[in-house]
């Protein structure tokens, strides 16, 4: 399995399937772990990092239950390859920009990933399309158990799993749900809702994780507290209260738009489609916003001849690194904008 095996298609967590899929794009749970008796990354020499990488790589790749895996050496990869992995949410910006030996293990379906030598020695993640945190938790805790049979993790009775940053200590869990909230944005209710979400101790981020701005009405909501609350409780909180509530607000906003302001909605969707079908140059930023409107059009039944799967596929394949990996060469921003517009025209006309 190679990177180019992935680049021609979208990823399973972005299939457009799953529960509440009209609003919830994907669910993700990651666990932070460190090897007992080994210094944390910030104090490791490159030799020590290499030892961690070798040990964890071997211990994870030898787990037959995980299925066919690919190890990617992030330290040796090119800039474009790293950006490509970020676009598919397989690695963080932090791992891409890190120093010294580091890498990622991913399964063929990309629903499991293990980053080695990011901020912690190991960060394992499980992804799912739509709202399915319970399934993510079941899968990731099982893999965590299997890895910990071979690797003793740093753990204290008082603080739980010990992590490099105390903001992750305890469970080491980060639960994230990616949402598409265009109607709340159009009806100017987003700020109010995010304030409420933040008051509940959760964080709201852009689509590509920590520190990124929200583009095209896509947002990630994650837990902030990792200590003093059990993993099951956090998963239950998201599954039973938080996400269904946000989903119902977005649905109400969509209904309200259709009832009171259908012209505004239809205009936005039609304009988006017109630009996507005709533009000769289009930036990834503009494309994300327009595809967001298109997605809203499909989910409100205003567009019937384009599927969510098609939109998701274009969304991913027209990202800057995907365009370059698939064309096999480094492209200037202008060339990328031209190629992106060309692919959009081909897929939508």
């Amino acid at each position: 399995m190679k990177l180019t095996d992935l680049s021609s298609r979208t990823t399973d967590w972005f299939s457009g399937k799953g529960s509440l899929a009209d609003i919830v794009i994907s669910s993700r749970i990651r666990l932070a772990r460190n090897i007992a008796g080994v210094k944390f990354i910030s104090k490791c020499t490159n030799d020590e990092k290499q030892n961690i990488l070798t040990t964890l790589k071997h211990n994870i790749l030898s787990l037959e239950a995980i299925g066919e895996c690919l190890f990617i050496n992030v330290a040796q990869g090119s800039h474009i390859e790293r950006e490509f992995l970020i676009e598919r949410q397989l690695i963080s910006r932090n791992l891409a920009a890190g120093k010294g030996p580091r890498g990622v293990i991913i399964t063929k379906n990309e629903l499991f990933g293990a980053m080695i030598n990011e901020e912690d020695h190991l960060r394992i993640q499980a992804l799912a399309a739509g709202m399915d945190l319970e399934n993510c938790w079941k899968r990731i805790t099982k893999i965590d158990d299997m890895v910990s049979e071979k690797t003793k993790f740093a753990f204290s009775r008082k603080y739980g799993y010990l992590t490099a940053c105390p903001t992750n200590v305890g469970t080491g869990i980060r639960v994230s749900v990616m949402l598409h909230l265009p109607a709340l944005k159009m009806t100017e209710q987003l700020k109010k809702m995010f304030d409420a979400v933040r008051d509940m101790g959760l964080t709201v981020r852009g689509i590509f994780g920590e520190g990124t701005e929200a583009v095209g009405d896509f947002f990630q909501i994650s837990n902030q507290v990792t200590l003093g609350v059990s993993e099951e409780k956090i998963v239950e909180y998201f599954t039973v209260s938080i996400i269904p509530k946000i989903v119902s607000y977005e649905r109400l906003a969509r209904e309200e738009l259709l009832r009171k302001n259908a012209d505004l909605l239809d205009d936005k969707i039609a304009r988006a489609l017109a630009v996507l079908k005709n533009a000769r140059l289009i930036s990834s930023h503009e494309a994300l916003f327009l595809l967001s409107s298109l997605r809203l059009g499909i989910n409100t039944g205003r567009i019937k001849d384009i599927s969510i799967q098609t939109v998701n596929e274009i969304f991913m394949l027209t990202q800057p690194a995907h365009l370059q990996i698939n064309s096999g060469e480094i492209l200037s921003p202008e060339k990328r904008d031209s190629l992106r517009a060309q692919q959009l025209r081909a897929r939508l006309n």
Partner: protein, 164 residues
């Protein structure tokens, strides 16, 4: 900490102003900070947030902070941790003791003890109470807190503490 304007919501914005060399601190909730025209839209990373929290608390730290020895295992000092936001090894959690605990309390919504998964075999090695017993009590504790039965919750908490 409560917001100093509305005194009802938790203060999540901690502002340090230095005017003509005079340092002053303000602690506001998101809503009041915005009403005051303080831009809070920028997303800080968790590490940045932690560093700024640590920096805000710097003035009130006790003088012995300067003399606090570093960790013998990794060489990390508390000052170094304060500026970078990252610890050097698992041992730092013990070495930095109470100073670190107060940081953890601030960033973890007042929590200072783990509830949740325990690695398989951890109890056998340390010859402690089987984790399933503690786990059972922890679950009961969660239910008690949910039901707002604080008397029972306190009792369960004490029992769990004893078992640990």
């Amino acid at each position: 900490m409560q917001c100093e304007i509305c005194a009802s919501k938790a203060a999540t914005i901690h502002l340090t102003e230095i005017i003509n060399g005079q340092r002053s601190e303000r602690h506001l909730c998101q809503g009041c900070a915005q009403a005051e025209g303080i831009a809070v839209e920028n997303q800080l990373s968790l590490n940045e947030l932690l560093s700024s929290l640590l920096a805000a608390g710097e003035q009130v730290d006790s003088p012995q902070d300067f003399d606090r020895p570093g960790c013998e295992d990794c060489g990390m000092t508390f000052d170094e941790f304060k500026s970078g936001g990252l610890l050097g090894c698992a041992n730092d959690y013990e070495v930095f003791g109470d100073a670190l605990e107060s940081v953890i309390e601030k960033t973890q919504d007042g929590n200072t003890a783990h509830i949740g998964k325990v690695p398989e075999g951890f109890d056998a090695e340390t010859q402690q109470v089987p984790r399933s017993d503690i786990r059972k009590l922890q679950l009961q504790l969660e239910v008690a807190v949910k039901n707002e039965d604080y008397e029972l919750a306190a009792k369960l908490r004490d029992e769990i503490k004893k078992m640990q």
